[in-house]
Symmetry: D2
Subunit: 380 residues, 4 copies
Amino acid sequence: MARKKLRIGLIGYGFMGRTHSNAFHQAGRFFDLKYTPELIAVCGRDQANAEAHAANWGFSSIETDWRKLIERDDIDLIDIAAPNNVHHDIAIAAAEAGKMVMCEKPLGRNAAESQAMVAAVEKAGVANMVWYNYRRIPAITLAKQLIDAGKLGRIYHYRAKFLQDWTIADDLPQGGPGLWRLDADVAGSGVTGDLLAHCIDTAMWLNGPIDTVSGTTETFIKERMHSLTGNVAPVTIDDASLFMARFDNGSLATFEATRYARGHKALYTLEINGEHASISWDLHDLNRIEYFDHADESQMRGWRSIHVTDGDHPYMDKWWVPGLSIGYEHSFVHQFADFVASLSSKQPAMPNFRDALATDLVTDAVLKSAKSGKWENAHK
Amino acid sequence: MARKKLRIGLIGYGFMGRTHSNAFHQAGRFFDLKYTPELIAVCGRDQANAEAHAANWGFSSIETDWRKLIERDDIDLIDIAAPNNVHHDIAIAAAEAGKMVMCEKPLGRNAAESQAMVAAVEKAGVANMVWYNYRRIPAITLAKQLIDAGKLGRIYHYRAKFLQDWTIADDLPQGGPGLWRLDADVAGSGVTGDLLAHCIDTAMWLNGPIDTVSGTTETFIKERMHSLTGNVAPVTIDDASLFMARFDNGSLATFEATRYARGHKALYTLEINGEHASISWDLHDLNRIEYFDHADESQMRGWRSIHVTDGDHPYMDKWWVPGLSIGYEHSFVHQFADFVASLSSKQPAMPNFRDALATDLVTDAVLKSAKSGKWENAHK
Amino acid sequence: MARKKLRIGLIGYGFMGRTHSNAFHQAGRFFDLKYTPELIAVCGRDQANAEAHAANWGFSSIETDWRKLIERDDIDLIDIAAPNNVHHDIAIAAAEAGKMVMCEKPLGRNAAESQAMVAAVEKAGVANMVWYNYRRIPAITLAKQLIDAGKLGRIYHYRAKFLQDWTIADDLPQGGPGLWRLDADVAGSGVTGDLLAHCIDTAMWLNGPIDTVSGTTETFIKERMHSLTGNVAPVTIDDASLFMARFDNGSLATFEATRYARGHKALYTLEINGEHASISWDLHDLNRIEYFDHADESQMRGWRSIHVTDGDHPYMDKWWVPGLSIGYEHSFVHQFADFVASLSSKQPAMPNFRDALATDLVTDAVLKSAKSGKWENAHK
Amino acid sequence: MARKKLRIGLIGYGFMGRTHSNAFHQAGRFFDLKYTPELIAVCGRDQANAEAHAANWGFSSIETDWRKLIERDDIDLIDIAAPNNVHHDIAIAAAEAGKMVMCEKPLGRNAAESQAMVAAVEKAGVANMVWYNYRRIPAITLAKQLIDAGKLGRIYHYRAKFLQDWTIADDLPQGGPGLWRLDADVAGSGVTGDLLAHCIDTAMWLNGPIDTVSGTTETFIKERMHSLTGNVAPVTIDDASLFMARFDNGSLATFEATRYARGHKALYTLEINGEHASISWDLHDLNRIEYFDHADESQMRGWRSIHVTDGDHPYMDKWWVPGLSIGYEHSFVHQFADFVASLSSKQPAMPNFRDALATDLVTDAVLKSAKSGKWENAHK
């Protein structure tokens, strides 16, 4: 039986545009997809860049206006890999045009934008997903399975950090090509939306909803030059953001993200302590998970360093043989394969827009708390 | 020239009584002390236990009433290794009797007690020190030297945790022999005073004063049986305590202590991120320090795992040869050797009572914030 | 200017067939190739399998007889990913037909086969390369650069291990589909040619030629059933192989490979100790390299754990951003990109057939020594 | 009931003299000894040094001639911590005088010396022990218990290394005070007897007798100045020594020791792979043992990092609380406590002279093989 086609229009050709395009190609090579991805068009404001991306990744055409892309009949799915400030308009227009929508994280620049986006896709009844790719690191998926199987028992503690150091230099410009993450108008916020959002999405997937938060943020270097205008202006983003949280299940948490942690490139770490067992993980060694099981014989209890590369580990039967690592980009491949699988199942691919809204509610609450100095409700 | 004697009266024969007694013996074997410690008396309420401790450790006599110990003429130094609830009375009485005073941490059960103790030793003009022993782990001392030498530059972040799991079982009694740390009347608080106090002392030594804090605490199991009475009563201590902090130098911090982190026995960890370099350390591998230096050649930058056992590392010329580890108890030996050295120098041994009061001000502020839900001043 | 085409015929659709096919696709997406790979045909004895591989990976046609593949005019390059016992015949026929040849490792089942293969490609003057892919792990390439730059100084020691545990069960069959590595007729030897060959290739690349070896081998389970015939027969391969070596540069080495090291999946490790610095690496954490530099300030000397994912690390400017890992298959992508680059340069891609012959001379010497009980010359 | 006295005469006041003296003191503080050690005399050729050692460690008297020490009636036990070249004469004289004898390792400079020493103590029927202290690292003792309990099943592989780097500098003198380990006349051999001997003792304790060996040695710097005479002379010791071994139980092994492994101070490591489980350990992190158990649930198999500091771990009920490390010197304390315990039991303390002779037979075989280039029998 012939496979159906899944005709894709991608918006954005930057870092995330590359990870998505790679996923579209690799998913079919390694997973048995029921739909064949077709790369119909890539869209970006710069025509030369769009053409280069199309040539490199095999897109059949380009657009320089996303509205035109959405108008096209030959596209089933709009994938948004553009900066955060256009997520809202594109996603709503795409949903209204009846397209499936995949969107890079965070969903909106704030929960209000995200709420409108959720309303649009739910009203339209179109498939939708947000690229919180870390759920599909096999080690993280395994953690989810262990928790769901009750291996940890009651959860007492959760802690997550996302540490980087790339903005420490005080002569780094803010804003402009490749630097929009340093401009709050475009990005919505600094590390809160960029890095903490990842930590929060994983945390709520593994440990359920967050109830209340108390946070604080800091901008260490107060003024920077803009890369396009050359003007020195106040820095609008948060360089560091940290918060305490209480989950609905009664567990306590600390979260921290910063771009001022010298020595860390992209050190997303998490740890979860349960009554019976604990788990920890970090992105720099993404093929491993550390697991402690109190049920082990007393003298021989210790943290197990599990190399999550066996055939019975999540996703790993699709790749190589035990002991052979996969990398960062594979998480996108897995997520896209799951999305395609969801199209012929009754289970929507997670996280969908509504799931991602929940994360934006938490980041909004963190930013609100950072101003109020009080605990804030993360559910609304 | 004959060495002077330092005649010691120890109060307490428990876990800390043993670490101190060991330090009194070992310091002279490995360090060139200007005073010879003489173990005059050990004092404890249980005569048989006191006698056993005296026999084992070579104390010449025992007392069962600490007031009598303080009255004795043949003692220069009172060392308090008894539970927290008697620190205040003993220390003040000892100071008033003109004795030098060493006291286990935390100094008082709260800052008010500590304030009175500071006033007493300062009025009496007697040498005083608090056993925040982790400052004397060679790796921590080395960290202090690196920071003081400016290797890290401006500090952006500090984070510390003290994770244990020994109270998770819900049939564990509270209070009574060996369990007084679970009784707030005796201990003052739970992990805040027991574990966080260590983290705070080290942090302020390395990174300067803490300005404000926002904290929260939790008691996971609400009622426990008392080991002496058999009565079930509400648990009065905090099982977990975590807080965010801002230091006077502008750096941000997270602190956490808990006895509900499955898989961790005594995992005191700290990390400090500066403009130029970062440091991290943990108590389970206490002979190592991790160090990242951004000044390293770009391609070869990485966290260095330094085995702090060379002759040019702090204290290590006194022990064995490079690569050979020391253990936990050595931190007490170092601290006592430093105390003795301070008696013939103009520099008081750190941390003294006033230093330890600063820590109690922070723990008080954390507990206050946990109730108020707001940021609290940690200086007063 | 239009790129030239590089028309590829692949022989073999197993584990290595997949890694090569993936490399053909990915190289052009991430590297600026001067030739465009075209996947003309895949060849294998089982038609259905060959068709499935062609469909999945985009080969235009299939062959079931490798001789026919070589006869085709529309192919520039023959890539051999078939079992070891056919490397010799295919490579020589391909060379004689004027095709470029890439061959999986080991080159031949023994040095005599390899010698003939070298003669064939050199006589034909065709480009040739052997897939010792680990040279192209960025961490290993970085090690090579550091050594070549003199960072290590005189080399004293080299040690390498390749530890697996997948054949421990005594009911595992030998030979047949997926198990030809357990049949010496097909594979040439056991772990000596399969695993040690990798260790030796890297070692001689990093540390120069091996002069003499003294080795020993063991077969722990003496008889196994054949998966096709069901007959129980003596096991012909070596389960474990270890040897001592002296390099031409005077350094000493130990090498070990086994499939009986419980707890290790594919733990290829190496360490090299020089006068000034040392390096170690392992395949389970392939993005890291450990580096010790004696020139570091004395108190702060330690092994640096370098996460080889920065833009100035070998190959890594082609992938993502600092801190984001790549995986096993990327080594093949790098190697193929280097091969293509070599076609328009004067530098042949390494390792070529002659380089791979040197490795086979060492494995032959190891096996000879295992029988003689003496040191054997590894140069001939 | 009064404890008996154990009157000790120590010969040697260097590094090992200090570790033994410390053990004599600490054993009684932490273990319930049936005999009370009395430090009667310390003996050394330099009177001032002997007096300093006596003063520091509480020996009642000194001797400068070991023969006089042995003649004394007030001594039960002669402990030899002098350089290797006097072990033989002292031990035999002590045994003949009816003294118990403890001796630093290696027992003799070669097996012939050791054989005579074994004969002497066995003829005299005196208690005897050799200070292979690493058996008493709790992690190693735990490994022994696991192996004896059958947790590992059939053993396939053993590997051990002892890596140092302190002799790399070519201006280091050989011989003289503190440097006798670099003089083969005194030491017997270089790293073979100094470092490999430790590895071999542990290995045979854990894995049984070694049957045959094939080894090689190297002296990287051929001439050095003598520290006393100033004369430049050929270096007589081995800087590096490595060998392959076959144990009686059929397992294969590699052993290596060197003082030319840049970056390693005293890195004694071992790993043992069994049918069901594996163990690894290293001296730089001596409180940990790594353990892999194939019986763990498939998805959750990993190397467990066990912090061997719990009350149910060997020796650890005597020290502090879980998570708190001990150090190098504790292994001597444990060994002495075990020796004292053996005096009132029917079990001699291990390893005794005969056990240590077995190690010397192996080191002799390694050195013989290094000359012959062949496998040599390690049993005789």
